[in-house]
């Protein structure tokens, strides 16, 4: 399923809970517009939303970039924040450093990163403590 090329970049502000998820619903609208397969679109949107929530909950600020090409839909996330000390631990389901405030929103249960990985065909994470975290999320389009 080929789609046209498309790129967009978004700025996300930490602790801005009222708008948290706005970028991901916007990305989903764009993918719908581009005629992306609904199942693929849903996987991208879910991964993107979890990444956006992580950014809002933990980072000071960050950027999310959407790149669509005929082969794949890719989301790049780069934040300025505390970073992740132990990535292997953060990837474990149920491991979380969330505050009660985050849990009250229905997030922060240690499911975010595993959910992103589950929905991605390709997922990379790197982090520098005290600097920030980067994610690469790729969902392949069928030929």
């Amino acid at each position: 399923m080929a789609a046209e090329e498309f790129e967009a970049e978004y700025h996300v502000t930490g602790r801005d809970y009222a708008n948290a998820g706005r970028v991901s619903t916007n990305i989903k609208d764009i993918l719908k517009h581009l005629g992306i397969d609904p199942a693929l679109m849903r996987r991208v949107a879910i991964a993107s939303y979890e990444a956006e929530m992580n950014l809002v909950m933990y980072a000071t600020r960050g950027k999310m970039r959407l790149v669509v090409n005929p082969g794949a839909v890719t989301i790049f996330v780069e934040d300025e924040g505390p970073g992740i000390e132990n990535i292997a631990l953060a990837m474990e389901e149920g491991y979380s450093t969330a505050t009660p405030e985050m849990r009250e929103m229905g997030f922060g249960a240690g499911m975010g990163l595993p959910n992103i990985k589950r929905n991605a065909d390709d997922f990379e994470i790197s982090s520098v403590v005290g600097r920030g975290t980067r994610l690469y999320i790729r969902v392949n389009q069928a030929e």
Binding site: A18, T25, K28, R42, Y49, G106, F107, N115
Partner: protein
């Protein structure tokens, strides 16, 4: 928070409104057929376990519930335990064309009633 999934008979949102004595916060058309119902307060569980078209019963009231429903292609949301969503939550749902109902019943009672009908028990 446990999530339940059932898939038996399909019923309309209008019928669900009756079964739960629910009020309609937004959604003019309740003729949509519901094939699947899930109950959860943890949105990450909804994102991980829901199927497209699922109706979500939840005791959590926030903008994130509506955005979760939008992202996961849910067919609607029912707020339980008599919780009243703020105006901005309804406005977002309306914009997304997402039906939102509210019932004074508990999550357990709501899920039980719908399970009873959908599973034919």
């Amino acid at each position: 928070m446990p999530t339940t999934h059932v898939k038996r008979q399909t019923i309309t949102l209008a019928r669900i409104r009756e079964l739960l004595s629910a009020e309609v916060f937004c959604g003019n058309d309740l003729s949509a057929k519901v094939e699947e119902v899930g109950a959860a307060d943890l949105m990450s569980d909804v994102l991980a376990l829901s199927k497209p078209g699922m109706l979500l019963l939840t005791g959590l009231v926030s903008m994130q519930v509506i955005r979760t429903a939008m992202v996961a292609d849910l067919c609607g949301v029912v707020f339980v335990r008599g919780k009243k969503p703020a105006g901005e939550i309804i406005a977002l749902a309306r914009e997304a064309n997402l039906p939102v109902l509210g019932t004074s019943l508990t999550l357990f009672e709501s899920a039980g009633r719908l399970y009873g009908v959908i599973s034919g028990r």
